[in-house]
């Protein structure tokens, strides 16, 4: 600037770019070429008009955009109209199902037609000065498809050109569909395992349901005989009818419980008391435990924190472990088999459940394979029970382990993350 043959000049303008015009043009062309040839879908957006609105709001003292939008929801619609797509690439044209990128130039509203909530969150992110924001949204293409996209917005910050907000879109429809199929497959698989477990309890269940039914049949018969007499004992008939009602309710509860286990159900996550889950699981096997005079000891830590999980699936895991223990005790005589259950809180705050039996234990060479799918030591087993237990517990963020107790018998222990401290 101070050289003898130079002149100093100042130019007013929006941008301070000291590169020669042709260099800027060349650079812009490179940039455009780059954008156009990027494989993903990209929209270049000019968000300055809404930036101006934000400046005005701030000058009026608005700091909490969330509550402002609650009172003025129309601002999101305004943003969708004033913010314009200024350029797009081939990937975007393909994603939106249009002939050329020019069809995409205009108000950004079409991107958010099916996702007003996403638009609102992006407006919020922009107002709060975030650098970028990612949304999962539904999008209607111009040729009528409804697709799922992952939408990333990168807002410019000085000294970048403020007229260039970049919106990248990734079509995740196929990925989401695959994930949903996978979840469905896992649900079907664990349901199949639940039904298999019920199958192993079939004779016990049949006996359990048959008890109230046979009491009902006999009480009804006795009532009829009383009523056909010349001097019917109506007080007795009343008492027996009340017992019939009780037994019917009891039978229906058993059926309800079995149906709950066998039913197709969408996984539901809720805060659960693991002790309660274990108690419910015990209902499935208590008949078997009593009939075979197995000594059951249950030690609950009533202070265990709750866990976040699916009640039916966790019940399934515990019923499965109980059935395994019962089967391990098949050779024991009456009064010799023992099963001990307990719940506790680990030193690191996790919730632990353990089950131990005094059966023959697990052969050392099988300990590493016991959770593998289709691994079984039972003659008629499918080898899916423990594999499903493990996948359910893993999906709950926990772990399950098998071991042999030093005093004999198998021991299974599962831990689940606690919901609250």
């Amino acid at each position: 600037m101070t050289g003898p043959s130079s002149i100093a000049a100042g130019v007013d303008g929006e941008t301070a770019d000291d590169r020669p015009f042709w260099a800027v043009r060349a650079s812009e062309q490179r940039y455009r070429r780059l954008i156009h040839h990027l494989p993903g879908a990209l929209l270049q957006v000019d968000a300055r008009p809404i930036g101006a609105v934000f400046d005005r709001l701030r000058s009026e003292g608005v700091t909490d955009i969330g509550s402002y939008l609650d009172e003025h929801p129309e601002l999101v619609g305004t943003a969708c109209e004033v913010v314009r797509v200024t350029d797009a690439n081939g990937g975007a044209a393909q994603l939106f199902g249009v002939g050329g990128v020019d069809d995409l130039v205009g108000p950004v509203a079409y991107v958010f037609a099916n996702a007003p909530e996403a638009a609102r969150r992006i407006v919020t992110a922009h107002f709060e000065g975030r650098r970028s924001h990612v949304e999962r949204a539904k999008l209607r293409t111009f040729d009528g498809r409804l697709i799922d996209v992952e939408l990333s917005v990168t807002f410019p910050t000085p000294p970048e050109s403020l007229d260039v907000t970049l919106l990248t879109l990734e079509d995740v429809t196929e990925r989401l569909r695959t994930e949903a199929q996978l979840r469905q497959l896992q649900a079907d698989y664990s349901r199949a395992a639940r039904i298999a477990t019920l199958g192993e309890l079939a004779s016990s269940i049949a006996h359990e349901v048959n008890q109230p039914l046979s009491a009902i049949a006999m009480n009804a018969e006795t009532c009829l005989r009383w009523l056909s007499r010349d001097d019917p004992n109506l007080a007795k008939v009343c008492q027996l009818t009340a017992r019939i009602a009780d037994s019917a309710r009891h039978a229906s509860e058993i059926v309800q419980r079995i149906r709950g286990m066998a039913a197709r159900h969408a996984p539901e996550t809720a805060p659960l008391d693991l002790n309660g889950v274990v108690e419910e699981a015990l209902l499935f096997v208590c008949h078997e435990v009593e009939a075979r005079a197995i000594v059951l000891s249950v030690r609950f830590d009533i202070a265990v924190p709750r866990v976040l999980g699916d009640r039916v699936q966790l019940q399934q895991v515990i019923v499965n472990l109980l059935v395994n223990s019962l089967q391990a005790l098949a050779e024991k005589g009456a009064g010799e088999g023992r099963i001990a259950l307990d719940t506790a809180m680990d030193a690191d705050g996790a919730v632990r459940f353990s089950i131990r039996d005094n059966g023959p234990g697990i052969a050392e060479e099988n300990l590493d394979r016991i959770f593998d799918g289709f691994f079984t030591t039972k003659g008629d087993g499918m080898g899916i029970g423990l594999a499903v237990c493990q996948s359910i517990i893993a999906a709950h963020g926990g772990s399950i382990a098998a071991s042999n107790h030093h005093e004999g018998g198998a021991c299974f222990e599962l831990t689940l993350p606690a919901l609250e401290a």
Partner: protein, 124 residues
Amino acid sequence: MSKTSVIAIVDDDEAVREALFDFLQMEGLSARMFDRAAAFLAGAAVEGFECVITDVRMPEIDGIELQRRLRARGSPMPVIFITSSNEERARARALQDGAAAWFTKPVDNETLLSTVRAVLPPAH
């Protein structure tokens, strides 16, 4: 009940036990209920019963074992089994030990009644 009980009902299921009791009572047969085999076997009155009606699957001492212990004491008391178990092995064992009858639930009351009357001494 005015008469001494002649029939012992041994069943761990309260509803089943009471239904059978009321049925027999209506037919003029006096019975006493036991919720487990041990309680029945421990009573001094065991020898006073003319007949026992029992389930097969019960905690601790099951119906088969109950009959075996009676026989081991030299008691010829008629044992009638009523069960929802269809285990052939248990049935064969029961009959081999001299069971008077083996019924599968739900039992036909008329048949049960005539069987009970048949095993009781003529006075009943």
